[in-house]
């Protein structure tokens, strides 16, 4: 509007009135984007849903329709159940620990600490690394002759040395640790943004009321950073449920199936075993799980948010 007014006043012919077709951007402008979105996202998604009901092997020109057979097989699969359990465990633990640590870091760095800017960058740095790079780095740290076992030996704790990624009781926790290490900085930054939006007057008022540190946090900070909590928890749960790169690079789902997630299970079925239809059925179920969990979570968290 402002721009049009300026144009009119600057024009050499004051009587100029832009025609109607200049008032709104022509809808044709969005056609390329819609077409691209349609082909790359919509068509691929719909085709994926269709293939979930077929026995396509990923190579044949034909994809025999098998109805619900893939879903029946999925419901009866022990490997699928193990993968689902691992996925839920990773999503749950990583979300809780990552956000607790992220919040603590944010609270610590939302202060007048001299080195706070340097520390923020340091804690955020792992987020910028590719998950695959982090996975290979930790594969070395966790190796039997790696940094972790070396440090344990150096401080006289040889008996605590482990096959961190090779033992079914430690492998999944080792993977979760890597995920938390990499993404704790991401949660921290979102919490920091939330903390910076809390008005100082509310803290002053709380001080006048005689609130101690805990009361200030519980009654002022926490309610006012609720939107940041919503964003963090939602993103962490979604990322946790979809986790693939770190697991595949560090353990390929092993030992056995001890760290296999639904994404790893899907990848192996579709692309390594040629059970493309079955793989798409797993993908569809995973999508439904992620959507339902995210929507429920959003609804609960949004209801607890308050206006700043």
């Amino acid at each position: 509007m402002q721009e049009r007014r300026t144009l009119r006043s600057a024009g050499s012919r004051p009587s100029f009135k832009p025609s109607r077709r200049f008032e709104e951007p022509p809808w044709l402008f969005i056609v390329p984007a819609v077409l691209l979105y349609g082909v790359v996202v919509l068509y691929a998604s719909v085709a994926g849903v269709y293939y979930a009901f077929t026995a396509w092997d990923g190579l044949s020109p034909t994809a025999p329709f098998v109805g619900l057979a893939n879903f029946q097989e999925l419901a009866q699969s022990r490997e699928a159940a193990d993968s689902l359990r691992n996925t839920v465990l990773i999503a749950l633990v990583a979300t809780v620990v990552q956000n607790l640590l992220g919040l603590l870091l944010a609270l610590g760095l939302h202060s007048h600490l001299k080195s706070r800017y340097v520390l923020r960058v340091l804690f955020f740095a792992p987020v910028m690394l590719a998950p695959i790079v982090v996975a290979f780095l930790f594969q070395y740290i966790y190796s039997p002759m790696g940094f972790l076992n070396y440090m344990l030996a150096a401080v006289g704790l040889e008996n605590m040395q482990q096959a961190w990624l090779g033992n079914r009781s430690t492998a999944i926790w080792s993977v979760i640790t890597v995920i938390v290490w990499q993404f704790v900085g991401f949660s921290m930054v979102i919490f920091l943004a939330g903390l910076q939006g809390v008005p100082q007057e509310l803290y002053d008022a709380a001080d006048i009321d005689g609130a101690n540190g805990w009361n200030r946090f519980w009654n002022v900070t926490l309610p006012l950073i609720a939107p940041a909590i919503t964003v963090n928890l939602t993103l962490s749960v979604i990322a946790g449920l979809k986790i693939f790169d770190q697991v595949w690079a560090m353990t390929q789902g092993g030992p056995g199936h001890a760290t296999a997630t639904l994404s790893v299970f899907l990848f192996r079925q579709a692309f390594l075993f040629g059970n493309y239809g079955y793989g798409m059925a797993i993908a569809l179920v995973l999508t439904i799980i992620v959507t339902v969990v995210a929507l429920i979570q959003l609804k609960i968290l949004r209801s607890r948010e308050v206006e700043g």
Partner: protein
């Protein structure tokens, strides 16, 4: 004026025709292979382009799992490279010649001149339905690598019997040296020792075991040889033959262990020798023999199977040029560039094999080799086998459970 115009048009037409002819002569081929073979493929491609300046070959390399995923997608979409790396065998691998040829994705190369040179024992690995689809370059073998110097220093000879191996394990582990470096964190490594054993305990007497398995006429659980191989595998672990935490040990770890003298032996494939020497191990200290299985003097069989093979995409628009490249590759002087002393799948007097592999080559020549697992009925069997071995090592599965699961998966199609 009119004649000048006609001359100009005529000149342009001539230019167009000549230009088109030249353009038709220029061919660009696409070739895809696994990253493990990048060095020899690049050398052969460079030589081919040097001799055929009108042909350009663009190459793409990827790690095995990524290669399989991308190439399967490209093949299904009809956009696969003209020349592609393909695995030998029926259906045990997602990019095996059997699977691809079954879906008419590979060009039939049966009439190529090199087909008649393929040894009888190799033919079934490169054919489907009696037709040949890939050219086999080299053979993958599994054997026992040893550090000659370490064995000598501890008064040990090269293990030739199972008991020799156990005795070496005991003496070396007492001396603080890892007898056998084993990287079971890496799935494909888990199967090497059982493959090395079953070559003798199963395939030496029943070479068609995999075929009968696919036909439902044999089972893993019913095979004494498979049970024996897995029991021996666990026995080696129990007796301290392996490094600590084999399930958490990577391939790079065991290469370092051998290269730095912290391990005396490893059951591995030929590529291991290059890796170990690249990391500083003296080549003259390294030896390789068939894995010792027997105690009665019977000479062991070895795992040997076609590894690197190349085919032509059925959808390629440059069939003639792609076939010409494979004919070029099949020449002994070019093959020797590719092989670099490794064992050829198609023997030729002009091809020299590194002395390191002489005992493995002798086993192949004497017919004491088997392509263990190459004809398993579907790719999941191998996956269950490899993951099951990890589970055997961490105690979450028994041999009986693993064999039963293998049979269940082998029955699936």
């Amino acid at each position: 004026m009119k004649s000048s115009l006609l001359k100009a048009i005529g000149f342009l037409l001539v230019l167009l025709i000549v230009g088109t002819a030249v353009a038709q002569e220029r061919v660009t081929l696409r070739l895809a292979a696994i990253v493990n073979d990048q060095e020899p493929v690049t050398a052969v491609v460079a030589e081919y382009m040097r001799r055929n300046p009108h042909i350009t070959i663009t190459t793409t390399f990827a790690p095995i799992d990524q290669y399989q995923v991308v190439l399967r997608t490209q093949l299904a979409a009809g956009t696969a490279p003209d020349i592609l790396f393909v695995w030998a065998g029926a259906a045990g691998n997602p990019m095996s010649v059997g699977l691809l040829a079954e879906n008419n994705l590979l060009a039939d190369l049966s009439n190529e001149p090199w087909v008649r040179d393929i040894p009888a024992g190799v033919r079934s690995s490169v054919q489907h339905g009696g037709r040949t689809f890939i050219y086999p370059v080299n053979k993958l073998v599994i054997g026992l690598f040893y550090n000659r110097q370490i064995l000598q220093n501890h008064g040990l000879g090269v293990p030739r019997t199972w008991n020799d191996l156990l005795a070496a394990c005991e003496r070396l582990s007492r001396a603080g040296i890892t007898p056998l470096a084993q990287a079971n964190q890496v799935l494909w490594v888990t199967q090497l020792i059982p493959h090395a054993i079953t070559a003798s305990t199963v395939y030496a007497t029943d070479p068609d075991f995999d075929i009968r398995l696919a036909q439902g006429r044999a089972t893993f659980a019913g095979s004494a040889g498979y049970r024996d191989a897995l029991q021996r595998y666990l026995e080696l672990n129990r007796r301290g033959c392996f490094n600590r935490f084999p399930n958490a040990t990577s391939y790079e770890d065991i290469v370092r262990m051998m290269a730095t003298g912290r391990a005396a032996m490893a059951v591995q494939t030929p590529g291991f020798a290059a890796q170990a020497t690249r990391q500083g191990m003296a080549a003259e200290h390294l030896g390789m023999v068939p894995f010792p299985v027997h105690n009665d003097g019977t000479r062991p069989w070895i795992f040997a199977s076609v590894l690197s093979s190349f085919g032509v995409s059925a959808a390629s628009r440059n069939q003639a040029a792609a076939r010409d490249f494979i004919r070029f590759l099949a020449q002994p002087e070019i093959l020797s560039i590719y092989l670099g002393g490794r064992i050829p799948a198609v023997p030729h007097p002009a091809l020299t094999v590194s002395p390191l592999f002489s005992e493995m080559l002798a086993a192949i020549r004497e017919g004491r080799s088997a392509p263990v697992g190459v004809f398993w009925p579907n790719p999941r069997v191998q996956d269950v086998y490899m993951r099951g071995i990890q589970q055997l090592f961490d105690g979450s599965k028994t041999i009986d459970q693993l064999l039963a699961e293998l049979d269940r998966i082998a029955r699936e199609r």
